[in-house]
Symmetry: C2
């Protein structure tokens, strides 16, 4: 850290990077008071702020001592904030050592350059390079459509306040990585808004005085990610079975599932898991098929499931289920939790029952260690002991703000942390059962810290369409941005999920999404919320054949993907990587958001538009071999034939996996 | 004015009404700095503000002397604002005598009571009582749909950024009237936002230090309106011909117009004017029929119009035209204006050409006295001298912000004043021609001061549908709110105008709107932007008969309406009046927004929903006679039969016009 003082100002650089620049004219910190209004409808939040005051901290006193700087920030002789900035082995830490008690808003400006790029902020679906936009960071439903200029978004807004916007995400995170090769992470959980619209600074608006801000700076992106994930936590390597084939999302009861599995196996599909989210029962609402939200085997819908799980296991197929952190008020578990006082409460002491879409649920108060352990016990007893090898640990975004929690911390502070608690429950249940090598779970919600507990992220609820902001394309952006935030294992519902209005999943979409998923760490299908409206893996013979071929390809990639998973576990290098991680000198790569590297030797450019027979891609300087045609490229913009089943994938010539890639190309 | 001082605070009351209440805990003024972003697309503005600073002015010094108070407002020993509050014969004036030069935002809190009602803010279409909402005050397109929860609004937003919102209005005004019987008017033209959502105060956000704030307080509403219009200006009495029948909006050239007028006259319709907006030529765009925007008789479309106008006049029928403050770049007048330097410019000195919807226009710089006079001359030469007796003086809302004006005042300050300049040009043209007793014009755009120049307001572009926020119902709210802002002559396009998407004007809508218009000061039809999609006055015999009857009724009301017009001219009592003006003790009336009094003796409750055979109305305590059935009511909630042609209208028993009303009821 270097401090440069000049008349009426100072500058702080870290490893040669300007981070803070202060002068009377251009102060780097503002403080104030706001009154927030949070309005939740089924996980969609409308958040607004009435700003009572906002004061520029023009005046300062600065004292330097070894690797520490103390800064007092004031205005008209009133001191509002004391900072202590110190450097440790890995990071620069900005500590808020004291501050005026009546401020609850803070704006910090980090020095920026006009041509700078920034990435991260958790899972972002619309923008990979975040420059030029603002990103509110608050875990919510991701929205249906996510673009106010589309009809789907408008319809979802009109009928259900559910359209979302470009920044709506299940998994926000107050972390960004700049192409100046530093990261910035804010250790705080209240609502924030990261504003990257200004030429000379990034402005971080934080609705609380944060615990601390971390900066890391390294010579290359991979070491930077290693530093970041050292701080935030890394994922473990997944059990082998997860990458040995596809998890088929099937619903409808034992007989239906048996029939569909038989058909899949007969067609030669490499099935590694059968995922039945309705294992605990279903309900039908106007939205479509929903679940019972009472996490106990539904013996009526799934007679003999216990035996069937064993049968599947004998065939080398795992059985996966579903759970979320809520309990339907009409179920036995809710009754038990409410009696024990384990349901999140309103300030008046009553259970805080929320609308989950034509049925009502309570939230288990995971800040109460007894409730936390009780829920962990539910997972162990009803899922793990029952023989379930994995599950979707759904939701996590619905904690209202006006709650009374066991730990007495406000809803404003706990809302974003709920996914972390939720991940922790699931992780500990598996650990305590001694099954970390066998059992998985996957989540959509997240926040800083989830990377430490959550094993796998899935991209949530895409539309069953080609939309840029909420379809296949958006999943690529999501994987890349989450990877730059320290969560490196990502996948999606093959074919998307949300089936509303006129949307129906087409055969073409399902096939293209399968092509893409084969080149991600995990293949898993979902029937969607209106299964009958959607094309499914078994809708015709051609589709079954397609799944046979793509799951074979995916399973052949196992050693290659496994190496990437190990790299992710050891160093925090995401399995799906932005190209600039390996080719940082190529300026074109910093704008690329729909192309990625799977590991270090494959470049994947998924076809995310309909009716395309060829596809344009960009390759960095190197020798690249088109997986199917074997044509070789030296880099630059290229175009290749891209029929269904032959996604634009390129391997690095002379890769140690060249033989494997050649074998795949012959499938 | 009374000043009550107490420890750490003070209170200012005026004629017994608490207006300002200040304490260290609850200061009444905040100041700050903002950076605004104005984004215009075809008259629709997206406006956002980045608040750099906002400071509560906690500290004060107060000095009283006779009828004057000087207040210095400061924070931490820095004085930001000096006020001088003084009382004159009619008003309390808050003068900003000095202020810190780097502030451009000010928030003033006016003391409020929790059950208070407020009205005004110019022409508001969705809310009459403004309490509970915020009202940005900036003249813009009114929007298509004006309700983010309707599909029409969403479609307009998606395809044209044109949906609008509940506050979008052509005619805003920073004036409100409280039921504490005071008015508040801010003498300033920059963007403001009046926030009536708080229980204990109304917060006026002003994007500049205002010239002055006026308060008036009186014992009753009529005298309060008299005081307000004394300040802001009143309208004159209209020429008699305006209220003697209907102005038929017809387009399509001399032959078409002749044919339609013949048919109307044969059907016995009382035609007082023929309004041909395309007298200067038409163009077809994807929106529909648009005009040439070059204000000279189109001899091709209207051969022999000069003679035809005389023929019409001989039959006692006036001819009306159309003009707006813009010139199409493809026209001769634009060429002349540009050569003379009369077109509003960009900062780089080039003409500021704006998109008017598939054609481009320049704005005549009305701040340049030469340009102002030149444009006045255009009106005199091409319209008045040509024999035109009236016109729609359309638009006025499209002045961009980033302009370079002749008077060197910023676009931010001049934008809202453009309608006033536009009204002034039209008014002076008529005055200078010596035709104030004969010629009229009507405008949709407005701002404080328009009431002084503009003769008639029309409600702009309603949808041809029954929507609450943009259909027939919205016009009633518009008339009432504008009346409470000091503009008392209001009417609307019979049947609405905007015909987009699936909207088509139904016969029922046209007939119900005609029923309503008969009981407003002016009846005028419009074919809409897609005439062929809309039901018109001559679409069938039944409709012609309906127009015959309703125009007869309207013309019979002439003496009654004339008296109301005189009252409006002399005292500023609007022709269409909220019921509480006459029955202030009745609390139910303060929430009534779809019912009005025409003059003092008629109550009108228009049917604004489709498929209704009866209608509910509320009557204040008095003897009321239902116009058609002659049933008498003593007040309260009632329901009457309401077939088409028999709108719910009630007259006051023993009115001096009782004979007239009885005659009407026999039509």
């Amino acid at each position: 850290m270097e401090i440069l003082k000049f008349e009426n100002g100072f500058k702080i650089t870290y490893k040669g990077i300007d981070l803070i620049s202060h002068s009377k004219d251009k102060p780097f910190m503002y403080v104030g008071t706001g009154i927030a209004d949070y309005n939740m409808y089924r996980g969609n939040f409308k958040i607004s702020d009435y700003l009572v005051e906002k004061i520029a901290l023009l005046d300062y006193e600065i004292e330097q001592e070894n690797n520490k700087v103390d800064i007092k920030l004031s205005r008209n002789n009133i001191c509002y904030v004391n900072l202590c900035i110190e450097e440790n082995k890995s990071n620069l830490l900005v500590n808020f050592t004291d501050y005026s008690r009546n401020i609850n808003r803070i704006w910090i400006r980090i020095a920026a350059e006009s041509d700078e790029h920034v990435y991260g902020c958790g899972e972002q679906f619309s923008y990979f390079d975040l420059r030029g936009k603002k990103f509110p960071l608050f875990t919510t439903e991701q929205g249906v459509g996510r673009n106010k200029k589309t009809l789907i978004t408008a319809l979802a807004d009109i009928y259900d306040d559910a359209g979302g916007d470009y920044y709506s995400t299940f998994y926000p995170q107050p972390t960004f990585i700049s192409n100046k090769k530093y990261f910035c992470h804010v250790d705080e959980s209240t609502y924030m808004n990261f504003d990257f619209t200004n030429e000379n600074y990034h402005e971080l608006e934080i609705w609380n005085v944060p615990n601390r801000i971390y900066f890391g700076a390294e010579n290359n992106y991979k070491i930077l990610l290693q530093n970041l994930t050292q701080l935030l936590g890394r994922q473990t390597v997944l059990p082998d079975w997860v990458i040995e084939g596809i998890c088929l999302g099937i619903q409808g009861g034992t007989d239906v599932v048996k029939g569909k599995v038989e058909r899949a196996l007969k067609s030669g599909i490499k099935v590694t898991g059968v995922w039945c989210q309705d294992w605990e029962g279903k309900r039908i609402t106007s939205f479509g098929k929903r679940l019972m939200w009472n996490w106990i085997w539904d013996k009526n819908l799934y007679p003999g499931l216990d035996k069937y799980i064993k049968e599947l296991n004998e065939k080398g197929i795992k059985f996966l289920g579903y759970i979320n952190p809520y309990l339907a008020t009409d179920g036995s578990l809710y009754k038990e939790a409410a009696e024990k006082g384990y349901i999140v409460k309103r300030n008046d002491g009553s259970e805080y029952v929320i609308d989950a879409g034509e049925f009502y649920v309570g939230i288990v108060d995971l800040t109460n260690p007894d409730a936390f352990n009780w829920y962990k016990g539910i997972i162990k007893k009803y899922m793990i002991d029952f023989g379930i090898s994995g599950w979707m640990a759904d939701f996590g975004e619905y904690l209202p703000i006006d709650v009374k929690l066991y730990n007495n911390i406000s809803g404003e502070k706990m809302h974003n942390l709920w996914p972390v608690l939720w991940a922790k429950v699931n992780r500990e249940a598996i650990e305590e059962a001694g099954k970390t090598e066998e059992i998985i779970f996957f989540m959509r919600a997240g926040y800083s810290g989830c990377g430490r507990y959550n094993l796998i992220t899935w991209a949530g609820d895409q539309n069953v369409d080609w939309s840029i902001d909420d379809g296949l394309a958006s999943v690529i952006v999501a994987a890349l941005s989450l990877g730059m935030s320290g969560m490196g294992i990502h996948h999606s519902d093959i074919g998307g999920y949300t089936t509303l209005f006129d949307m129906k999943r087409s055969k073409e979409l399902l096939l293209r999404w399968t092509d893409f998923a084969a080149f991600t760490p995990i293949m898993r299908t979902h029937e969607g919320n209106r299964p009958a409206d959607n094309w499914q893996f078994d809708s015709d013979e051609e589709t079954l054949k397609h799944f046979e071929r793509m799951t074979k390809i995916h399973s052949m990639l196992k050693p290659y993907i496994k190496e990437a998973l190990i790299e992710n576990a050891n160093y925090g290098i995401p399995v799906m990587r932005p190209l600039f991680l390996n080719y940082e000198e190529d300026k074109n790569l910093y704008d690329l958001k729909y192309e990625y590297m799977l590991g270090d030797d494959l470049i994947v450019a998924p076809v995310y538009e309909s009716s395309k027979s060829s596809w344009k891609a960009y390759l960095p300087r190197d020798k690249w071999v088109h997986l199917w045609s074997k044509n070789e490229y030296d880099g630059g913009y290229i175009e290749v034939e891209s029929p269904i089943g032959y996604p634009p994938v390129f391997y690095k010539k002379n890769s140690k996996y060249e033989e494997l890639f050649k074998n795949i190309s012959m499938i």
